[in-house]
Amino acid sequence: MDALIELKNVTVKFPVKPSFIDVLKGKPQRVVHAVNGVDLTVMPGEIIALVGESGSGKTTLGKAINALHPSEVVGGTICFEGEPIFGTDGKLKPGYREKVAMIFQDPYQSLNPKQTIEKIVAEPLMIQQKNLSRDKMRASVVTALEQAGLTPGESFLNRYPHELSGGQRQRVVIAGALIVKPKLIIADEPVSMLDVSIRSEILKLLMELRERQQIAYLFITHDIALAWAIADKIAVMYLGTILEYGSAENVIQSPQNPYTQALIEIMPKMKMRRSEKRALLTGEIPDPIDLPKGCVFQSRCPRAADGCMHEKPKLTLVGEAHYSVCECRLEEMRVNE
């Protein structure tokens, strides 16, 4: 099968707003290396979870795929169905936005409180298909709402976001993404703001949509347990770099990278943990403006060796469909039951 989307050596570098004095002194422009040479492939209908600590560049990468960053800051190539999404003139290929939608973390914040649900859901159509008639638009809105599990769709049209519960709001967000019939949805922590008791409701909806419409997901989360629960593949990100990538089973059950291992280790397990000492990482996280020369994780890595300081390790195949930048393979994890 052909890849739906393929990232090759994607980088995102935000220029740091220089201080006035620096401009006067003529200091060179500094940049935040938010994403640093990421290769990633998403197949149609696949769920890839992107996990990592705060600030590791997950959202930035998601937005890069959604072409939300100005093209100057994005490097490398992003291909959609085999073609680069930016033409040679630097313009986004028409129609791309209809294929890729994004869902954001906070359902309370992603809906304009001043608009009716109808307007919110219809917004992509208003932007992308300007000459659609009102009736057609309304019909599509109703369909999208019902697909997102808000039935009957009509009863929601004239409501305002504040009249809905958190879960319903997130469904509205999803309906807004569905209305353009996307092939890829980038979901940036879509459930982390919801109460645990209703999270799975939303996740279930996403899964169903995949089944029905063959939508692929780039699922961004910092909860590795959640990734384990729903994703086909997991990519572990740290400081803009993917440190480990592979099928969920492989990554969770036989993590190859010390960082992945630490992440798994530290997750609460819903067990009494009186006697165990937590395997905390020590050391400072490097500044994304001045990335270290070698491995980005060296400063906190329990197994950092001399070599890690000098050479940037590459993602290499460490098992079947399993890549890691590091092969410090631990003994099998205790979590294997």
């Binding site: 707003k17 201080s19 006035f20 004095i21």
Partner: protein, 322 residues
């Protein structure tokens, strides 16, 4: 507070200043009414006299040439010669500065003290009669045209009660007085204009202080302070006020700049010999250099006050970085 912040603000202030200079110059050039016309509406003037005066004031040159002269002389502190007073603008202004500073300064101090105080009381006793009273009082003074308030003051204190002088800064009969006698004479003349100006300012200060404090009092860190076991007064003083003072301080600093120009109404009503009235007279006399000078000075004050308020902001609020 970091240096970057200061440098940036200074730079912006300079840009603003340049903008002011530009507007200042061209605004007065496009004004109708040849300034010399004010001098020649006299049976004895003739055309040569007018030409001579124009030449004397540099009005016969081209606009561009005038602008260059204007800016370059401004840099050496020369604001030209007042058409009307035939004196260096700086000197004319200099003579008035004291009166305005005295008036505005006293009024500001009173307004700040009582405005803040009332605001604190009202916010603290929110919803009580005290609050409603203070609030109504402030809203009314805020809504009052200041010149009218001045007229009422004169009508009541000078006309009806006859205890305070109507206008001016000194009694003519005490012209030769010195020392305490003079000081008390000025003080007596100061009462009504200061009261008027202070009342007008006070309303706004009170309202801002009140809402700023109310807002601060809902913040989580106030809850923290309460949880620490502090009594209400200490919380107010040590935790709420430093935060509530931030908008207040910037408002005061900014209004300090405006108030000099705003004193125009009060100075006109009370014949107070300050910059505000000078400005009004200069406008009537179409005294460009003088008007420019005053505009420049007051804009400078405002820019300065803005700068102070920015710096104050940076000082009071450690969060301000860039």
């Amino acid at each position: 507070m970091n240096r970057k912040y200061i440098v940036k603000k200074l730079f912006y202030a300079c840009i603003t200043l340049m903008g002011v200079l530009l507007i200042n110059f061209f605004l007065f050039r496009i004004m109708p009414g040849d300034p010399v016309s004010m001098l020649v509406r006299n049976p004895n003037a003739n055309i040569e006299t007018v030409e001579k005066m124009k030449a004397a004031y540099g009005l016969d040159k081209s606009l561009a040439a005038q602008f260059i002269t204007y800016v370059s002389s401004m840099f050496v502190g020369d604001f030209g010669t007042s058409f009307h007073y035939n004196m260096p603008v700086m000197k004319v202004i200099g003579d008035r500065v004291f009166a305005t500073i005295l008036l505005v300064g006293t009024a500001e101090i009173i307004a700040i003290i009582f405005g803040t105080f009332l605001g604190i009381v009202a916010a603290h006793k929110r919803g009580t009669k005290l609050d409603v009273g203070a609030l109504s009082f402030s809203l009314v003074t805020y809504a009052m045209p200041s010149f009218w308030l001045g007229i009422l003051m004169i009508a009541f204190f000078s006309g009806f009660l006859g205890i305070l002088p109507t206008s001016g800064m000194t009694s003519p009969s005490l012209y030769f007085a010195v020392g305490m006698q003079r000081a008390s004479d000025i003080a007596v003349h100061l009462v009504l204009p200061v009261l008027t100006l202070a009342l007008v300012l006070l309303g706004e200060y009170m309202l801002v202080m009140r809402s700023s404090l109310i807002e601060v009092l809902t913040e989580d860190y106030i809850l923290t302070a309460r949880a620490k076991g502090f009594d209400e007064k200490t919380i107010l003083k040590k935790h709420a006020l430093p935060n509530a003072m931030i908008p207040m301080a910037t408002l005061v600093a900014m209004s300090l700049g405006f108030v000099i120009a705003g004193a125009l109404q009060v100075e006109t009503v009370f014949s107070w010999p300050g910059l505000g009235r000078l400005m009004y007279d200069a406008l009537q006399n179409r005294d460009y250099p003088l008007l420019q000078g005053i505009f420049f000075i007051t804009s400078m004050c405002t820019i300065g006050a803005n700068l102070i308020s920015d710096l104050l902001y940076g000082y009071l609020d450690p969060r301000v970085k860039e």
